[in-house]
């Protein structure tokens, strides 16, 4: 019931608020989408990916470049192409870097994001370098809002189904103990790759929508590490490894960002830091565990502070 009421409210929202406010809500949905994606690799599989902004950027550039230039591909096919390309890149990069564990993996993903930013910055003939590219203008805010909302709902369903699927069980087993997972017959390389590719698809869709909405795409704006941090923080706030946690966390993050930090621009990073510490110390399993019934199937909450600890579970070799 509560869920349906919330859904009705979200559907009616564009009629209720100003177009400026709607932009804030759209931003929340975009962040939710990125966080949902990160939750697959970071939450369910326990791999602290710190470079998902790379796929946000790939999604943005692919969507943009296909829509302009000689092809003039419509928005949704262009978005799909961006998602597909991101998934392929994630699998190719994932093969080597998913062999790394714990903080080594985190550092490698960070490097990947930085490298891709440099590619976008320097491949002038394709991306026009730091000048960036300009997409066709579409000014109806409702379109972006509903597109993002649609994907977030799809994302919820996908996460729900994933958590109940064999792939979901396989990924969680990898998170809990990789050697045990192998002995249970789980192809760890394959499943990590799948989770990583799914997270890339979500980031790419978020990137594509944002690109279309912002019109102008530059490496500086679309390969910012801030996006990676936001998706991780939102997931931590909501609940790592839970179905609705990333969406809830994104809502809280956006709320805080708009109504509190807006007033203390200089203190922004400080306040952000305190909030992260608060959640990791006092609510390591996120808000979902506070509001939801505990141990609903599909919820695989795990402590945010354990994120980097998966290296511990491995034998000293």
């Amino acid at each position: 019931m509560g869920f349906l009421a919330l859904l009705a409210l979200l559907l009616a929202l564009p009629k209720l608020v100003s177009s400026y406010k709607l932009l804030t809500y759209t931003r929340f949905l975009i962040l939710a989408l990125m966080a949902q994606g990160w939750n697959f690799i970071g939450g369910y599989t326990g791999y602290a990916a710190f470079g998902n902004v790379a796929y946000f950027g790939i999604g943005a550039y692919t969507t943009g470049l296909l829509m302009i230039g000689k092809w003039h591909v419509p928005f949704f096919p262009a978005l799909a192409a961006g998602a597909l390309l991101s998934a392929c890149v994630a699998i190719l990069l994932g093969l080597p870097i998913l062999r790394l564990k714990g903080h080594y993996f985190a550092i490698a993903t960070l490097g990947v994001a930085e490298a891709l930013a440099q590619v976008a910055d320097n491949w002038d003939s394709l991306t026009d370098g730091s000048t960036g590219i300009d997409l066709p203008i579409k000014s109806e805010g409702e379109f972006f809002y509903y597109t993002a909302l649609g994907f977030v709902i799809l994302g919820l369903l996908a996460t729900w189904a994933f958590a109940r699927s064999k792939i979901g069980y396989g990924c969680v087993a990898i998170r809990e103990d990789q050697d045990a997972a192998r002995m249970l017959g789980i192809n760890t390389t394959l499943y990590k790759g799948i989770a990583y590719a799914i997270s890339a698809v979500f980031a790419a869709i978020a990137g594509g929508i944002t690109a279309y909405q912002n019109v102008h795409v530059t490496p500086g704006d679309f390969f910012k590490i801030d996006y990676t941090l936001q998706m991780i923080i939102a997931t931590i706030i909501g609940g790592v490894g839970s179905v609705a946690g990333p969406v809830l966390g994104a809502a809280v993050y956006q709320l805080l960002s708009t109504y509190i930090w807006g007033r203390f621009i200089e203190l922004h990073p400080t306040v952000l830091g305190f909030i992260i510490i608060f959640f990791i110390v006092f609510l390591p399993r996120g808000l979902m565990t506070v509001i939801g019934r505990r141990r609903k199937s599909g919820e695989r909450p795990f402590k945010a502070s354990d994120l980097l600890a998966n290296v511990r579970a491995h034998r000293v070799t």
Binding site: K166, E176, A180, R182, L184, G185, N187, A313
Partner: protein, 520 residues
């Protein structure tokens, strides 16, 4: 020499697995050295060997977690030497881990369901079918009551059972069991033996590593003994326990007697007065006084009104079934847990409210169950962690020498990472670390857990020795006979209460205790 005189019909002449010339080197050290071994289809093959003999490494090689440096493995006619580990399960092999590897934040049922989902090819299940099948398996291993608990909440014996359940859920044809009975008491061991036999009789070939002699003698069709990575004996159980080489390398005289008795009559108890101790002089001062102690975890109260006394220069054994609250009591004494009521006094000083580090500084040193070594530090660095609070730097070097003298294996391995040690070596290292703190009272939780009989014997001798040198000892030990033979006095803990106490020799003769804990 390994041929069975009259093999039972369930055992086929045809081996299910043939390992040839298996060698596994870590750096220059060969953990497994040219081992040839065949597992006959349908049999229970028991594997014995001192800690560090390479038993677990051998299983790691068989299951693809370690790639053998040399040698070949053929499973059911198929060469699997280079098969990736996750496919081993699909072929019909499953294993348990000696150092348990539960999927910690999942429930017991989800743990087992995961095994049922990805197991033997052709018998995989959907997620929903797997959850249903998990319940069946949990019934079989007597874990059904705990199915909705998170794996993190389980005790060590239950985690061992969970290991078995996960492996069983994969529908293996060949099952490797790596010390699934470590930490079980006698009656639990009996149940575990029945369980393993019933699994085998349902058509599963079993390769079992175990130090519990009674169990391995009771269930194995054949035995293999590894020592320093080599196979030193193979044959019928009866032949093996009489083999001088095995007695020398592994069993030790005293356990050999017991094992032979077990093999011959199915009994484990060797009546003998020579191992009993008289209580020390009655005039001795109480060193540790526990009065009316209640304690537990969160809302759950485990200990109820426990009172206990350890006198100066005494060895006191604390015995009781798994879950009786022994570890909880030790944790409360060391103040790793906060008491709910009651008091703890040490050497006349109330330490109920002291911090754990103050308790260590006062001279109470706790060697915890599961060793809790720092896996990424070397043996020597681990030992030196024990001197953290000491100010008498001058004596530290000589104490280190003393620990090395008492436990020569640690000296050999001083520069190895503790995480790389075998189970027995880890236990030695944990005790060594405790000794480095120069304790007045040494608390040891589960001394013999997972250790070879010979090592247990030498550790017990060590404890007797340090006790004679003046250290008081409070010992928790699952092998009640061993505990009471080496202690002066004993306390029996049942569901959080002390139900009996007295001189160890009297407890050893008590019919109630013999029935409850010794299975006599």
């Amino acid at each position: 020499m390994s041929a069975l005189p009259v093999p039972p019909p369930r055992i086929s002449e045809k081996p299910i697995l043939v390992a040839t010339g298996i060698t596994k080197k870590f750096g220059g050290l060969a953990a497994v050295d040219r081992v040839d071994l065949s597992i006959l289809s349908g049999e229970i093959l028991g594997v014995l060997g001192p800690n560090g003999a390479g038993k677990t490494t051998f299983v790691n090689c068989m299951t693809g977690l370690d790639k053998p440096t040399a040698g070949s493995i053929v499973f059911d006619g198929q060469d699997i030497t280079k098969t990736p580990s996750y496919r081993i399960g699909h072929l019909g092999m499953a294993r348990t881990f000696q150092v348990v590897k539960p999927l910690r934040q999942l429930t017991v049922r989800e743990n087992v369901a995961t095994g049922a989902m990805f197991g033997a090819r052709g018998r995989e299940r959907s997620a929903a079918q797997a959850r249903a099948y998990a319940d069946e398996v949990l019934d079989r291993v007597h874990l059904a009551d705990l199915r909705d608990r998170a794996a993190t909440e389980l005790t060590i014996p239950d985690l061992k059972r969970l290991e078995l359940a996960k492996a069983l859920a994969m529908d293996p044809r060949l099952l490797f069991l790596d010390e699934v009975m470590a930490g079980l008491n006698q009656s639990e061991i009996e149940k575990a033996m029945e369980l393993i036999l019933s699994i085998n009789r349902s058509g599963v070939t079993i390769f079992v590593i175990e130090h519990v002699m009674k169990a391995i003698m009771g269930i194995s069709d054949r035995l293999v003994v590894l020592h320093y990575g080599r196979k030193i004996a193979e044959g019928l159980p009866k032949e093996i326990v009489e083999s001088p080489a095995v007695i020398e390398a592994y069993l030790g005289e005293r356990f050999a007697q017991r094992a032979q008795a077990a093999g011959v009559e199915g009994a484990l108890f060797v009546p003998s007065g020579e191992f009993r101790k008289a209580p020390p002089a009655a005039a001795a001062q109480a060193l540790l006084e526990v009065k009316g102690l209640s304690s537990g975890y969160g809302e759950v109260q485990i200990l109820r009104d426990v009172s206990l006394e350890v006198k100066e220069k005494e060895i006191v054994a604390l015995i009781g079934a798994n879950g009786a609250g022994k570890t909880t009591l030790l944790w409360t004494i060391s103040r790793l847990l906060q008491p709910m009521a009651g008091s703890v006094r040490f050497a006349g000083v109330d330490i109920t409210a002291a911090r754990p580090d103050e308790i260590v500084a006062a001279g109470v040193v706790h060697v915890p169950q599961g060793r809790r070594l720092f896996a990424g530090l070397t043996v020597k660095e681990n030992l030196m962690q024990g001197v953290y609070l000491r100010r008498d730097t001058a004596k530290i070097a000589s104490d280190l020498e003393r620990v090395y003298a008492l436990l020569p294996r640690l000296a050999e391995r001083a520069d190895q990472l503790a995480g790389r040690l075998s189970g027995g070596e880890q236990q030695m290292c944990a005790i060594g670390r405790g000794l480095m703190s120069r304790p007045r009272l040494l608390i040891i939780d589960e001394l013999s857990l997972g250790l070879a009989p010979l090592v247990v014997d030498s550790l017990l001798a060590l404890i007797t020795q340090i006790n004679e040198e003046g250290t008081t000892v409070l010992l928790v030990e699952q092998d009640v006979q061993v505990a009471l033979e080496h202690a002066h006095r004993g306390y029996v803990l049942e569901t959080g209460r002390i139900v009996q106490t007295g001189p160890a020799a009297e407890l050893l003769d008590d019919p109630g205790i013999r029935q409850a804990y010794l299975g006599l």
